[in-house]
Amino acid sequence: MPEKSETSAAVGHGLRRNRAQLAWVGNGFLLLLALAAAYLLISNLIKNPIVFLQSVLDGLKLGFVYALIALGYTMVYGIVKLINFAHGDVFMVGAFTSFFAVSQFNLHKWPQMLFPACPVGISIVVGSLTVIILSMVVCTLLAITIERVAYKPLRDAPRIAALITAIGVSFFLEFFGALQFVFSPRFIPYKSPFDVTSWYVQSGIHPIVSGQPSPDNTISFSNIFLIILIASVVVQLFLQFLVRRTKIGIAMRATSFDKPTARLMGINVDRVISFTFATGAAFAGLGGVLYAIAYASIWTQLGILPGLKAFVAAVLGGIGSLPGAFVGALIMGQAESLTMAYISTPMRDAVAFTILIIVLLVRPTGIFGEPAGEKA
């Protein structure tokens, strides 16, 4: 019956045209949204450049913390195609480890306690580094344990099983941590290993004394901002080096590319996967300590939102790509900070997750993502 096939062809054609029109409407809408955002930002930049710059700086602080977490998401996804939702909670454990090391054991003061002659400055630097390294080690061990106990038995199971297990592990860490004898369910004022000081810029850099007002219309920043910035950049460069230049990095790339073949080539795939989890967790631990120092209040669900936003950042940058996670995190930080400054604070999370939806609709592979390429 030729008639019928003609009709169906016509219907199919109509559908296709309809879809093309819909895509056009969608793109137009996104373009309008982008133009509105650009107008909002530029007009506000002209109106008050100081507030704008301050918001950008605050956004960078958030963005660099997200970058430290997003790297772990993206590395693990690149290798085992698992979105490790427990990653944000490893971040939380990092914050708590440093809190206990500082408040219970005074670990940040050990150089001064062992060698009273040691200058205060060096003591603080060495002590704080020890606290950070301890947190990184604890997080690494935790991640290896989680991988062994929860993910390894499911390596050949459908991916959805592993994903649900990851959510389970995440809940376990949050609510086990909330028990009275573990971390307690309280909001705990964080005891920092070093004092957070801030400065304002006004023809030179001046310190802000707590309890005294700083001049109006000045930009301020703090030492923890600088530390987060440096740590995040160093970690990014280190990981680039690790993945591109070292033997284990080559093994990681091979594993992510083709697991059975990598195994045939004599690569211990299980060890490579454990190593990936461990590296990601170590940097989440570092991020946890720095985040806790910057915001100074910790509780067991501290990791949920930064974790989710870092996940959005990883998707935005192209999940599986290291530079992608970094760039995505910085964009997320700016989106949040500028939303708070120019739209309204309660909208910040809505904007963050709208970005996720738009990326998934428009370019599911993200900014740096390639459909099937080199990933690590």
Partner: protein, 384 residues
């Protein structure tokens, strides 16, 4: 024959057991619903401990109306859903007629709907939002009372104090848009402050349950140059925001309400701030000092030192005493009689002498606490 004997024996034993049950002293169950987990667990622990102390004291004096008081403690998490579940559980399963709780207004409001419909008396020790005792049409919920003053009063006292004592002309208001309690205080503050001739130079909202970064809001506060920042949120939010404000070089004092009252308040970050509260331990009235001693004798910290009760403990203690006195005055375990007795009560409580107005809100005073040099010091007492 043997079987018959043993059967008779079993029946006899059962009968004795049943009769024994009937003769046991009567018990009066009271539910204590407090947020033992969730965002504000220190509030929950204080509330539970305060209520249990009052119950112990009554039981030591032969209970109420010769009935032993049995507390049923449930965790209601300061969140509407778990609070509703807990209320349904104690009313339908445990068959209680009396509830002490919740701490948070947003949990107490949905809970009060259930309690009022079931003719169960609920006394919230600390929920300050007006909607706890008054329904949408403005009618008083017959079986719902509270032991604390209400949001408008705290906001009003805060604004009066800011104007008269701090000589503030410009105020910035920060509030959590998802929290009835914070919104209620902020609105009342704004209204009174404007009436007294001050200007609100800015108003910003946030989401206290999830936000940790307040830098963008604080940048606006800084450029608005207020004399005082009114932020009537809970201590966990104050810890974050006031610390970030200090780092930004904002020197205007922060002011708040009783949500600041916690041992976990970061006194270094909140230094220079003021908050309104229900009671202060340095008050010399005998009710306060006796309560302090009894509480300290019963509850010790890890080092074995007596714990100084906070306002939440004091109000839970007051709420429980109010309820039990009401039952005693009514002379029967009958919620209609107890309700009438409570409406006519005049009770010298730890947090001041309490009588109830037509909307079941207590009429009593407030104290102002100053956070200064790492301590919370009594500043002044404000009567309604």
């Amino acid at each position: 024959m043997k079987r018959l004997v043993s059967l008779t024996a079993i029946v006899l034993v059962l009968m004795v057991a049943v009769i024994g049950c009937q003769q046991a002293p009567k018990e009066l169950k009271i539910a204590v619903l407090a947020p033992l987990s969730g965002p504000v667990p220190t509030f929950g622990v204080s509330t539970r401990d305060g209520a249990l102390l009052a119950i112990d004291e009554w039981n030591a004096k032969n209970g109420v109306l010769n009935m032993k008081i049995v507390p049923i403690v449930e965790d209601s998490q300061c969140t509407p859903d778990p609070a509703v579940n807990a209320a349904n559980k104690v009313i339908n399963q445990d068959k209680v007629h009396y509830i002490i709780g919740e701490v948070c207004s947003k949990a107490s409001i949905p809970m009060s709907e259930i309690a009022n419909a079931a003719k169960v008396i609920q006394i919230s020790p600390t929920s300050t939002n007006t909607a706890v005792t008054v329904d949408k049409n403005g009618a008083t919920k017959a079986y719902i009372f509270r032991a604390c003053f209400i949001d408008p009063f705290q906001g009003k006292v805060g604004a009066t104090f800011a104007t008269n004592n701090l000589k503030a002309k410009k105020a910035f208001v920060l509030f959590d848009q998802s929290n009835d309690y914070v919104k209620g205080l902020a609105e009342a503050f704004e209204q009174t402050f404007t009436q007294l001739g001050g200007t609100i130079v800015g108003k910003e909202s946030y989401n206290g349950a999830t936000d940790t970064d307040y830098s963008a809001i604080l940048a606006k506060v800084k450029s608005a140059k207020p004399d005082v920042v009114y932020m009537p949120d809970y201590y966990n939010v104050i810890n974050l925001a006031s610390k970030q404000a200090k780092e930004k070089g904002i020197n205007a004092p922060f002011m708040g309400g009783d949500g600041w009252d916690s041992s976990d308040l970061d006194v270094k970050a909140a230094d220079g701030g003021y908050y309104t509260n229900h009671y202060d331990a340095s008050d010399p009235r005998p009710e306060v000092q006796n309560f302090l001693k009894a509480y300290g004798d019963k509850y010790k910290d890890n080092a074995g030192k007596a714990i100084v009760p906070d306002a939440l403990a004091a109000l839970a203690y007051d709420a429980t005493n109010l309820l039990l006195s009401g039952i005693k005055n009514a002379g029967a375990d009958n919620t209609d009689k107890v309700k009438a007795a409570l409406e006519g009560i005049s009770f010298a409580a730890v947090s001041g002498k309490i009588t109830f107005d037509a909307q079941h809100n207590p009429i009593k005073g407030a104290v102002i606490i100053h956070v200064k040099d790492g301590k919370k010091v009594f500043d002044s007492f404000v009567s309604p």
